[in-house]
Symmetry: C2
Subunit: 238 residues, 2 copies
């Protein structure tokens, strides 16, 4: 009557319980798929190709990834992990410096999968999709990344009080999404325009950071966050 599960509630897309062997197979399929994506592109890679390259049947891949895009979600989740690690070992400095460094690091890690990320965003922006950016399935991932930006702010040399830090983290998270979207659209060589935008944003943030101490600016930020914050779901602040 007892079950033989080992891993418990790993993620949302995976089946309820996986034995060690199952986990291993899942990982192998994912690795194979990511290799093909990086090699010949996401759209050009067929589910049947992935199955063949992984040496298993087509149906099996659907046991571990209920959608093709879910493989890209797994990839993104992995780089989110790396983002967290990067920020943990980020030199102390101003908010602007740390935020810019975090964004740039993420871009570098995602670069080989730009096209795949484009398709993921395409699906993620369809509001009632299973993988909607602001949907329930990605809630945990959102909270994780939000926490990373909170850390970017709180451990900076010019960190504000915790309450405003939460507001700023929400704004940073929104800015992060917008920034990724911009990057995906940027067709200039080496995404140079995105680099310029990053520099611009960094300068702007540094220039206007002191203004945040003014009641006017603080109030406006608080008002904005009160509007858009709830769309991201609970982040620990409420």
């Amino acid at each position: 009557m007892t079950t033989q599960l080992t891993t418990e509630t790993v993620g949302k897309g995976e089946p309820a319980g996986l034995t060690p062997k199952g986990e291993q197979t899942r990982k192998h399929i994912l690795e194979t798929a990511l290799g093909l994506f990086a090699d010949k592109g996401y759209q050009a890679t067929t589910m049947r190709e992935i199955a063949a390259a992984a040496g298993c049947s087509l149906g099996l891949t659907y046991r571990y990834f209920s959608r093709k895009e879910e493989m890209v979600v797994a990839l993104y989740a992995r780089t989110a992990q790396e983002l967290e690690e990067q920020v943990a070992s980020l030199p102390h400095g101003t908010i602007a410096e740390r935020y810019a460094a975090a964004l740039e690091g993420d871009l570098v890690r995602l670069a080989p999968f730009r096209e795949a990320m484009g398709t993921l965003f395409g699906v993620a922006l369809v509001p009632d999709s299973e993988l909607a950016v602001l949907g329930e399935n990605l809630q945990e991932l959102r909270a994780q990344v939000w926490g990373v930006f909170r850390k970017v702010i709180m451990e900076a040399s010019d960190a504000p009080k915790p309450k405003q830090a939460d507001d700023l983290a929400t704004a940073f998270y929104a800015g992060y999404l917008a920034f990724l979207l911009f990057w995906l659209q940027d067709r200039t060589p080496n995404q140079q325009t995105t680099q310029e935008l990053l520099s611009f944003g960094k300068d702007l943030l540094a220039k206007f950071r002191p203004a945040l101490r003014l009641p006017l600016a603080g109030k406006q930020l608080a008002r904005l966050v009160k509007i858009i914050g709830p769309m991201f779901g609970p982040m620990g602040n409420v």
Copy 2:
């Protein structure tokens, strides 16, 4: 040896030349499709259903719309036309008032097709898609809407000099895209959060409009536009 075409270079997605009858059929299929979209949703509507409802073969619909999403593009092009007309007969007032009115009007017109627009944006945000927002195929449409925002600014009571108006129009166009994206994600009843964001933006714009006369703000805007402007392609300014 002469050809029998009547309409010349109507748009990008349609076949090269269409006789009046062809145009009529195209319109009929589009009308049928939009009805189905509004009725049972875009994703749930099948190309075969559209063909059946329009009383023609499946293949024929592909003669007039090379992709399913192209029907949504046609819909968007229509509401862009309506946006232009609305702005033409917009009461004189401040930039903030006029911009907010334009955005709100667009939302009202697009409301019945929110889900379809979501899917369109999904495709449009895949950079190398045939229908990429910033791609060549939608260039004309982009220029048209940009012109509308330019008019919003230039014929306002607090219109700036033409050069800054161009910069502002570019920023407004980018803001417009971001705003639509936000609206698509907004799951609150009646998209109330989007309404609040609109109010916030309007207030903010009104509050900081005077600051644009300051060299500092003007320079920052100019720098931003110099970065992101080229992504939209030629808009008449260059």
